[in-house]
């Protein structure tokens, strides 16, 4: 069994998102035709179907829309942190992201949060959120 934590699979559609995290910028795909941002990153706008995506830096702020605290030790690599939280954040731009809440408090739905960046290693930076 692996004791490494899993890593995201990064492909052509999501690479700008993860490159942004490495620069400590939360980037979103935004449609230049209808103005809407979407997640998870796709090549075209799921709202107006236009092939006109531009990557824009997001505010990094949002609200917790749901959460869980994981007790079951599915991953040996997470055992030291168990139990740990997982949150979904509704960004002020609209789309939702899954992440972790740092700072040691139990998440609450509606709680305001802001992004922080965690440099895992030279190749990967993960976004996390802290109370705003």
């Amino acid at each position: 069994m692996s004791i490494e934590k899993p890593r995201p699979r990064i492909g052509p559609d999501s690479a700008p998102f993860w490159n942004g995290c490495r620069e400590h910028r939360l980037m979103l795909p935004v449609c230049t035709a209808c103005g809407k941002a979407h997640l998870p990153p796709g090549p075209v706008c799921p709202f107006c179907f236009a092939d006109a995506i531009a990557w824009r830096e997001a505010s990094g702020k949002g609200r917790i829309s749901t959460w869980t605290v994981v007790h079951k030790a599915w991953f040996p690599a997470f055992a030291a942190e168990s139990p740990y939280n997982v949150i979904q954040v509704e960004l002020d731009e609209g789309p939702r992201l899954t992440s972790n809440l740092i700072g040691g408090t139990t998440p609450a739905i509606g709680q305001r949060v802001e992004v922080v960046f965690d440099d895992v290693d030279a190749a990967l930076t993960l976004h996390r959120f802290r109370p705003a």
Partner: protein
């Protein structure tokens, strides 16, 4: 093309945890029993519809080769519980269209031996670039279907003021159905205290909100209506149906509008276009029992809301006071479902529905059962009729 199909034979292996048998051996026991039940022979089966393939289950070509079948129609979906309805629908469509005479829906699972695929480092489901289809994001520690059910139920509880003790009515009611079922793995009564005192898996889901990790097989044989009338059993008709809902407003483990992943956060009553199953000759108030994929207890609430048995946020109240238990107004999963009988990916419930409509369900028999609904939290459904 009009669908004209019936379930003509059912068979089950023993159900258990840690069974030593291979999936193919489990399937053999169920297959032989289904053939005998129908009065058919192996050579009569010319179609396979497979819900769960390798590694938890069996792929169609392994079944065909291992059992020496000569197959002319196959359907197989990706390894996921959501396709139970899909597999039964494909069987019904295939026999109606003449693509096969008898389709065997074969489900054989060894969850205990292969449980590493269900979550953690071996969970390939969660490793999609955009995350897993139950919301898995392994690099943040969210893995396994339970994670998706947990984040959905957490928000549902917040929005609608529902408690874990109310949710407990689901596994407690389904356990009561299992008490009289000799095939069921869980045959001890489940109390509220035991539910509330059990370990947390992923908040708010406790141990008994999560289905069994078990082994077993079920085979369901489907034939065209005229053929079915000539066979040994009273045919159980595969009646009204509707397909899986998918789109940006859908999350596999949530009703519409709950606000999970990219769903809208506008809750509302089930739309007419999502209730088409009730417009084909059986009205909702004619349904005498409801059967659903109870992998996690919240899915029962979400399925009841999907099909309009309860309004948004009202299913938790709906399931109280024995309404879905034995003798209730709408019994749910009368053999014990995935929560208490066994996790045969819902096919144990399809077999139970068949027994009910034949009038051979024994202790769990619904009086004069004529119309029973299978419907899932992701919006697909089949109504079986006597």
């Amino acid at each position: 093309m009009k669908i004209d199909a019936a379930i003509v034979g059912i068979g089950c292996s023993a159900f258990g945890r840690g069974l030593p048998d291979s999936q193919l051996r489990l399937a053999y026991a169920a297959f032989k029993q289904a053939l005998a039940d129908a009065g058919l022979e192996r050579k009569d089966v010319d179609g396979l519809s497979i819900h769960l393939g390798w590694p938890l289950g069996l792929d169609y070509d392994r079944v065909a080769e291992g059992f020496g079948l000569d197959i002319r129609y196959v359907n197989q979906s990706w390894l996921h519980g959501r396709f139970v309805t899909n597999a039964l629908q494909h069987a019904a469509l295939a026999v109606s269209a003449g693509l096969a005479d008898v389709v065997a829906c074969v489900t054989a699972v060894s969850f205990t031996r292969e449980r590493g695929f269900l979550g953690g480092p071996g969970d390939i489901e969660g490793n999609r670039e955009e995350g897993g289809t139950h919301g898995e994001v392994p690099y943040y520690g969210l893995t396994a279907p339970a994670g998706g059910a947990a984040i959905a139920m957490q928000r549902y509880m917040h929005l609608h003021g529902v408690t874990s003790a109310q949710l407990a009515a689901v596994p407690m009611s389904i356990r009561r159905h299992a008490l009289g079922n000799p095939r069921a793995i869980m045959r001890e009564p489940l109390t509220l205290e035991a539910h509330q005192g059990a370990r947390m898996v992923a908040d708010p889901l406790r141990l008994f909100d999560c289905c069994l990790i078990s082994d077993g097989a079920a085979v369901v044989l489907v034939a065209r209506g005229d053929h079915a009338r000539d066979l040994r059993q009273k045919p159980v008709r595969i009646g009204p149906m509707q397909g899986t809902r998918s789109g940006r407003d859908e999350f596999i483990f949530a009703p519409r509008g709950l606000g999970i992943n990219q769903q809208s956060a506008k809750r509302g009553r089930a739309r007419e276009r999502d209730l088409e199953v009730f417009g084909q000759g059986v009205a909702r108030d004619e349904v005498q029992g409801f059967y659903t994929y109870d992998a996690f207890s919240p899915l029962v609430l979400f399925a009841l809301e999907r099909f309009g048995y309860a309004g948004p946020g009202e299913a938790a109240a709906f399931v109280q006071n024995g309404r879905i238990g034995p003798g209730g107004a709408l019994p749910v999963n009368t053999s014990g479902g995935l929560l208490s009988e066994a996790h045969v990916a819902g096919w144990n419930s399809i077999c139970e529905m068949t027994r009910q409509l034949r009038g051979t369900a024994g202790a769990s028999q619904i009086a004069d059962a004529r119309a029973l609904q299978w419907g899932t939290a992701w919006g697909d459904s089949v109504i079986l009729t006597a």
